[in-house]
Amino acid sequence: MKWLWAPLGAYFALPLVATAVMSLWQGRQGYGFHAYAELIHTPEMWNSLLLSARLAFETIVAGLAILVPAVFWMNLRVPRLRPVFDFVSVLPLVVPAISLVAGITAIYTGPDWFVGTANFLVVPYVLLALPYTYRALDVGMRALDLRTLTEAAQSLGASWPTMILRVLVPNLITALLGAALLTMTIVIGEFTFASILLFNTFAVYINHIGSTSATRAAALSLLAFLITWLAMLGVALGGRRAAR
């Protein structure tokens, strides 16, 4: 099976290498970091990256605030509802993004700061991240003896909020970290919603650059890849630390 590694490696590495080479190409002046330098001095790039980062943060906070108590409650009190939770959690993977966005814009109304701004994207993003957040939390909670731990905390006088903050969350750190980093990668790379709803997020900006400057698009893609890859590394390292 060793011979498989070469074509497999090439399959993954070649596009990256080609993109890297392309991002460094400067026409007649040969190769250099011109595209990167230009990007760094483009305010739109920073604005779109900051917007995506902010949306990622909001999505993580909103998603965890909803799912931690929900998954906790399901595991502790109504484990028979697990199939329902499992089913609902994969819906975002099944429903096409385009139907989601059409449905959401038709249904949601509200104050202008919410519906009229990029904050509105948090709603579909929480949904998109649901499968990953739910899985991570469920696996984390199943590894704990929730019933005994909560009863022990209760008998010692802890209220529900105290129990969640002092006992549950500290023991779920790895799961929470994993959920947060996966959510971040999804939000940073999400294109459909932002594009249709006309918000200039990082992914939308990459697309825009792609139609104007090939070398800068290549550089930006590598940058996005790096962010995603760092997030994945974070998940892996967090998992290893917890396993010890």
């Binding site: 731990l149 009863e151 209220s159 006992v167």
Partner: protein
Amino acid sequence: MSSLEAVSLHKVYGGRTVLADVSLSLGEGEFVSLLGPSGCGKTTLLRLVAGFERPDGGRVLLDGRDITGVPAAKRNLGMVFQAYSLFPNMTAEENVGFGLRVRGEATEARRKRAREMLELVGLGEHMHKYPHQLSGGQQQRVALGRALAIRPALLLLDEPLSALDARVRVQLRDEIRRIQREIGVAALFVTHDQEEALSISDRVAVMERGRIAQLGEPAAIYEEPTSLFVARFVGQMAEFDAEIDAGCVRIAGHTLPAARAAGHAPGERVHFFLRPEHVRLVAPTDGLPGVVESRTFNGPTTTFRITLAGAGTVLATVPTTEARHTPGETVGITWDPAAPRILKLDGPAPAQDA
């Protein structure tokens, strides 16, 4: 004055009655065990007292105060669970101090109390270790210290020894009793292990299908079972169908001594129970004759299984130093007339042991 009083507690799960009007009271500093097969309601009773479940009827009083409607977090009861109840993210010291931290006690006082408790359970030098660095027995000691740190009005123990090795189990059980005596807190202990219940309790409540079948001191439970269920559940007993015959009993055509036959009318059909340690082996002509089926070496004692002609089998446990018989040999069995228990035939229906 009693510290805990459970008054006709009733609990139904999905149409099945798991506790049927159970009443129980614990004196101050008293250690009471709830003993029974699984499904008898002992754990449910403990959980009702702890506040993890609500009764469908009845009341729970603590030091005379009705706490039936009080949530578990406000009952101030110390509880030790079967296993894995320590908070994995906290050291032994932090675990023990958790209850005090929740109560808003100052850091110094909390640490001091935690250290005291860990010394008490013999883990003073392990206080900075995390649960996964401690053995099962050590974890249960920490759990005990944690339950006691909050100065509970009552200590609840839900099979705390069942996940431990036999040797650790015996050692820790004696230690739980020592510490409980030292602190003077009343304790309610759930177990399915009769040796455990008999060895550390002031009183034992044997439970059967949602009821307390018998409540009494360990010796009374063992020596004077009042129902067929208790007679069959606690310890080993040979059981025969017998008939009362003027101060004696008749079993398979033999008239045999039994002091307790005096309380029954002649001709009455009864159950006759005999413990293995009360059986004496004699010459075939001097007692009820039987054949030695097998011989089991237990260390200090040896147990013989003897088949009696027409009456079934009986176990006889004798000191190993006096165990001379071999399988196949015909022996006679006899006993002190005061030893056998006699129970009426129309006693409570026998329960299946789980």
